[in-house]
């Protein structure tokens, strides 16, 4: 009886142990690798078409991780020496597979295209996992790191939260998913291709604020000089980082192997060890280690368990109702002309909204600048023509001052005064730009009117002595006589309106810069912008031609 009990216990224990052993990620990984190695060893397997990516790695005894070369603490290169957290994770993966890593340089813009072109096997390049990218690549779960975007600026700069950045310029990298959030708080963006240039731009004061992943700035805050001058203002947009492989069937076994390795690396503290060696933040990795040690997560299927893995950042932007037609038009254009047209401003609701507002604001700005130029020209022209020295000389002083100030500086002064009087808003920025453009061009046109007035008085004086014609009528004649100059400065005012984006006026240039900071298609976008403004100026030139004709005819009649 005792023997029977012992036998039953042994059988039960064996059955209990068997599934447990099969469910560990270690066992699943070992089997996956063993099978792939066996496939690679089969005759002619390595020359087969559509070779499985994991099998190919064993065939070639190498894995090609795409890593960054200019991202301190994560991926840097000095000569032939590569270092950083991402690089060491890639080395650990290759070691576990028993192959050599062959690194390929990528950056934020090239990493997904290089994977699609099969020039790399896996992306390990500070890539945030968001829902937009989910459709382009297969992300490895669990995530190997997490970052958030932080706003960094000089300690002396009083910026604490979102309300403080309205109207300020923030330096960012193109394609950063958090750019849309910055734009929505009325900040202006200065775009750069590589994050590596941002600290330099902060140091030489080209940028007063820069937004980038905290992981990126970690390195610079280690430097005492940088930490003494700059500080983290606030953080936002937490995003998990994922390794990624191509989203194709032949990559699935490689993806599965990497999923399992990522689980094991978290559980065993491999990621933590690598992070410590590279002096990157440990908080996320410590929390993840606790997660992956939990029995329900430490299983073969743990990477598919929503209770264990983190969700992707939801970066999907609401599409426009006509996005299908826009995409069809882009394809048609490529087929017919071979030109790759990209119209991001028509594809998502936030971009479409920015685009529409940009066009309306640009037209308001042009109309306002023309009206203001005309108004200031008449006022300053009349005052400069005054016989009273108390009126004439201050007006001349204003004109000389405005002529001596570069356009950007005049705009900034107008914006500074406007923001001192009113709280920041788009309307205030547009109003300030209209006043500045009107003053700059109106002062020059006013000077022309005053000069015409002077010649008219001289002519009248030489013919019949001073007086005879009321001043108001004389001024009208002076305006007609200086028609060419007035028209030239009106055109100049219209041409100058895009510069209003410099002080945060949300006209079309500003709107399209915002759109391209989080969407693709820069070439098409800026080409359309140029066409838009050239057309607007051509229309203004036509309108001004009519005005000049009317003024000159009026002069001929008088």
């Amino acid at each position: 009886m005792r023997a029977w009990r012992a036998l039953l216990f042994a059988i039960a224990a064996a059955f209990a142990a068997l599934p447990a052993a099969a469910e560990t990620p270690d066992a699943a990984l070992a089997k996956l690798i063993e099978d792939a190695r066996a496939d690679a060893a089969a005759p002619a397997a390595c020359t087969a078409a559509n070779l499985d990516r994991l099998v190919r790695i064993f065939c070639e005894s190498r894995i090609r991780p795409g890593v960054r070369e200019y991202y301190p603490l994560f991926g840097t290169r000095e000569g032939e020496v590569r270092s950083g957290y991402d690089v060491d994770v890639a080395r650990a993966l290759a070691k576990r597979l028993g192959v050599e890593p062959v690194f390929v340089r990528v950056n934020a813009a090239s990493r997904i295209p290089l994977l699609a072109e099969d020039r790399i096997d896996v992306i390990l390049a500070t890539m945030g996992h968001n829902t937009q990218r989910d459709g382009q690549v297969r992300f490895i779960r669990p995530h190997y790191y997490q970052s958030e975007t932080i706003m960094v600026g000089p300690r002396a700069l009083a910026v604490k939260d979102w309300p403080d950045i309205a109207g300020r310029t923030v330096c960012v990298t193109i394609g950063n998913g958090s750019n849309a959030q910055i734009v929505s708080h009325n900040a202006r963006l200065m775009l750069f291709d590589e994050a590596g240039v941002l600290p330099g731009q902060l140091r030489d004061e080209t940028c007063a604020l820069a937004a980038q992943d905290d992981s990126f700035f970690d390195y610079y805050f280690i430097e005492s000089d940088f930490a003494a001058r700059f500080e983290r203002k606030f953080g936002f947009a937490q995003v998990p980082w994922g390794m990624a492989v191509a989203r194709i069937a032949s990559s699935e076994r490689l993806a599965r192997a990497l999923d399992l390795m990522s689980q094991i690396f978290h559980r065993d503290g491999v990621f933590l060890e690598i992070a410590r060696a590279n002096r990157v933040s440990l908080g996320f990795l410590e929390r993840q280690q606790a997660v992956w040690k939990r029995p329900e997560c430490n299983t073969e299927t743990g990477s598919e368990n929503p209770a264990c893995v983190l969700p992707a950042l939801n970066a999907d932007l609401e599409p426009t109702p006509f996005v299908g037609r826009v995409v069809a038009f882009e394809k048609w254009t490529k087929t017919v002309t071979g030109i790759e047209l990209s119209l991001p401003m028509l594809k998502t609701m936030p971009a479409w909204s920015l685009f529409k507002d940009g066009i309306v604001n640009s037209l308001i700005l042009v109309a306002g600048a023309l009206a203001a130029t005309l108004l200031f020209a008449l006022v300053l022209g009349a005052v400069q023509s005054s016989r009273s020295i108390l009126l004439r000389w201050p007006a001349r002083a204003i004109t000389v001052t405005l002529q001596s100030s570069p356009v950007v500086l005049t705009l900034v002064i107008a914006a500074a005064v406007a923001h001192a009087l009113f709280p920041y808003s788009s309307a205030v920025a547009i109003g300030a730009a209209i006043v500045a453009l009107g003053l700059m061009n109106g002062s020059n046109a006013g000077q022309a009117i005053a000069e015409a007035m002077h010649t008219l008085r001289a002519e009248r004086g030489s013919v019949q002595g001073a007086g005879g014609i009321p001043t108001r009528e004389l001024l009208g004649r002076a305006v007609s006589r200086s028609a060419t100059q007035i028209v030239s400065f009106l055109i100049n005012a219209a041409k100058g309106t895009p510069i209003a984006s410099f002080i945060g006026a949300p006209e079309l240039l500003s709107a399209l810069t915002d759109i391209t900071s989080f969407a693709s298609g820069r070439a098409t976008t800026y080409s359309l912008l140029l066409i838009f403004y050239v057309v607007v100026v051509v229309i203004v030139v036509w309108f001004c031609g009519k005005l000049r004709f009317w003024l000159e005819r009026r002069q001929a009649v008088t």
């Binding site: 001596s404 570069p406 041409k495």
Partner: protein, 212 residues
């Protein structure tokens, strides 16, 4: 005392920044002279070539500098290369190239006028081209301040980065006044030079007239 509230490096940096403004204007003028002369001659030749040149000059006149600058900045890839040589323009070169449509159309218009004067037997009238080009150069110096928008460290960029650190509007206005003074002196000196040139040419005209 004015300027006491500014950082120690401000004035040297401002002068260095203004040198960049002059550099940008000089590049834009040289390229504009070459392109404008070519377009001007094409236009004078008449026919289809002349019509093409006239249209191009019209478009260049209508193109806003600031938009052209952002267009160039975004349309030319940072790693653009021609026969293995990198051709992506620097920030300074981008600003200078964005001013070329203005300078080239100005040169084409004034060059055509000068050529007309020359053909009409008035070489000194044609020489008025020189003060006009001087005027264009100083307009270009002032316009080059647009470079501040793309991170070029020219004079206005130096003033603006100093302004960010000043707490009160009063201090900022003093700083801006200093900027206007520096740029104003430059501009007025340029216009004085232009007037001197005009007077000199005027004197030459009077002296060379028969019977004088």
């Amino acid at each position: 005392m004015i300027g006491k509230q500014f950082s120690a490096d401000f004035f040297p940096d401002l002068l260095a920044g203004m040198v960049v403004n002059f550099e940008i204007a000089a590049i834009a003028l040289v390229v504009g002279l070459a392109l404008g002369a070519l377009l001007g001659l094409m236009r004078l030749s008449g026919g289809a070539l002349g019509a093409v040149a006239t249209s191009l000059i019209g478009l260049m006149r209508a193109a806003p500098t600031f938009v052209v600058m952002f267009f160039l900045l975004n349309i030319i890839p940072r790693d653009a290369a021609l026969f293995g040589v990198g051709v992506a323009p620097s920030g300074i070169m981008t600003v200078a190239l964005s001013l070329v449509p203005y300078s080239a159309s100005y040169v084409a218009d004034n060059g055509a006028e000068a050529l007309k004067q020359l053909r009409a037997g008035s070489p000194l009238g044609a020489l008025q081209f020189l003060p006009n080009i001087t005027r264009a150069f100083f307009v270009l110096v002032m316009s080059s301040s647009a470079g501040a928008a793309i991170g070029v460290t020219e004079g206005i960029a130096v003033i603006l980065r100093e302004a960010v650190l000043l707490p009160s509007l009063g201090d900022k206005l003093v700083l801006f006044a200093v900027g206007i003074l520096f740029f104003g002196i430059t501009l007025q000196a340029g216009f004085a030079l232009m007037r001197l040139l005009q007077r000199y040419l005027g004197r030459r005209t009077v002296r060379d007239e028969p019977g004088v």
